[in-house]
């Protein structure tokens, strides 16, 4: 199981209604259905993942997230999750707005570009490759990598209130100089009151 799944499951209230954007094979939703009894839907573009979701017994809607979430009514979900997908999206601001239109809370996880090992690789003259950014520059789906500072600055500009963040390295939470020591960032946020 991916390291961010447990944190997300800890945050999600039992029986909540959950939308998982870029849900992959549906494993997170399946886990949340089994451990939290959530009602959920996944959104996914890739044919193979859509099939895997159906095989997993997870509701999946095939759609391109870049085009928004037109089928989903405003305020219709308790949580909208975007796990390890934000960095691969072109319309970053639009999807964050859509998440908080459709859901009361948003949960986002992304690889922290500010992690010291990433910085070291850039200093040495190479684009970083790591467990959380496992691609070469020429074959990466990632188009908008950011540091935690960058993400928080964007949230501020979009009137998004960050309610909690957990930062992990190799599956363990870190608490000291997180933008430097953390490899994977997990945020929950809501509209500013």
């Amino acid at each position: 199981m991916r390291h961010d799944f447990q944190i997300i499951a800890d945050w999600v209230k039992p029986s909540a209604k959950v939308l998982d954007l870029g849900c992959g094979d549906g494993n997170l939703l399946k886990y949340l259905q089994n451990s939290r009894q959530v009602r959920g839907y996944g959104v996914e573009l890739a044919d193979g993942n859509v099939l895997a979701c159906v095989q997993n017994g997870v509701n999946v809607i095939q759609r391109d997230l870049e085009a928004g979430l037109a089928e989903f009514a405003s305020d219709s979900f308790d949580y909208v999750i975007l796990s390890q997908t934000l960095q691969a999206m072109h319309h970053t601001e639009a999807i964050l707005r859509e998440m908080l239109r459709v859901g009361r809370e948003g949960i986002v996880t992304f690889p922290n570009f500010g992690y010291w090992k990433n910085r070291m690789q850039v200093l040495r003259g190479n684009m970083p490759v790591s467990a959380d950014i496992p691609y070469q520059w020429y074959n990466t789906p990632n188009v908008h990598l950011c540091t935690m500072h960058d993400f928080e600055a964007l949230c501020d500009r979009l009137d998004i209130h960050i309610s909690e963040r957990i930062v992990m390295t190799a599956g363990k939470p870190v608490s000291f100089l997180r933008n430097l020591t953390g490899s994977l960032a997990v945020y929950r946020f809501e509209r500013k009151k």
Binding site: V50, L51, V60, I61, Q62
Partner: protein, 380 residues
Amino acid sequence: MQPVSTNNASVGVVSPQTARFDTALTLKSGAVLPGYDLVYETYGTLNADKNNAILVCHALSGNHHVAGMHAPEDKKPGWWDNMIGPGKPVDTNRFFVIGVNNLGGCHGSTGPASINPATGQAFGSSFPLVTVEDWVASQARLADYLGIQQFAAIMGGSLGGMQVLQWSIGLPQRVRNCLVIASAPKLTAQNIAFNDVARQAILTDPDFHGGDFYAHHTHPRRGLRLARMLGHITYLSDDVMGSKFGRILRGGSFNYGYDVEFEIESYLRYQGDKFADSFDANTYLLMTKALDYFDPTHHHPEAGLTAALKPAQADFLVVSFTTDWRFAPERSREIVKALLDNERNVSYAEIVSGHGHDAFLMPDAHYHALVRAYMERVTT
């Protein structure tokens, strides 16, 4: 990977059966059918709990012959044989599958060409218009007759998908899973327009005789042929027509005349001829009208499809095809949105295909894998 669904396993030789209903059926139009026959086929075995039944609803020109052969020497199997059979996406080793010819059809169920017992003549123009709602009501009687309280699933493409939707709305307690494929919640003006041109071709054929052509021992062959040719154009995509036929000439050069020159002309005329000799013109008219009329929001247009689908209790699989412009993916997404608004369990897939509306009948590995995966989770 899933096994590809082009396996040769078949339900084998099947025989249609006829169920007779003598309780009058009041149709949506107000007309009353005192009694009627429904012709149907079944594949697989109904289990002791009678909870493994699947109803397959047919589209405009379909019928009850969904899978298998009527005789070992048949050239073509039933119309959805690639989908339904032992080990196929809808596995007849597990499910009891029913295909039924809809009321008003021309393959054995009571329709315009049937003899009206009150007159001893073919119904012809006196056969009432039937709607999707009427079909569902008559199919429910067939379910009663077979002792099936609740279907494990009801599935259909195109007009068949509309029947599935109507089941979920009208008799929600009688279906656990709905597979709505290449369908729409209601036709657009453009779609109705195509249907009307097809109808006009039939209605203006001198051999139509106001629908009572049976007594004249003729049938409106030209009109039906044109209607089918038009239909065929709309069921294919521009791409597939281009790649299949392009501008290829049969004789290699222009003849400067009106006989068949381009391959596409040859194809359409062949399809039209074949259909005109095997289908009933009144049934074609009636089926296209049923398509046009279907609109679950008709009585409360302001409340929309979300309100119309509120009674639904089933889980749904909705499937569309990228190059289907007659029942476009956008129309399937309207169904999905209404189901999401009602918090139904729903999965939606948009299959990449070049085959236009016809794609729902074609064997496609991903499409069939999806249906297989969904059906494997259907409980019995």
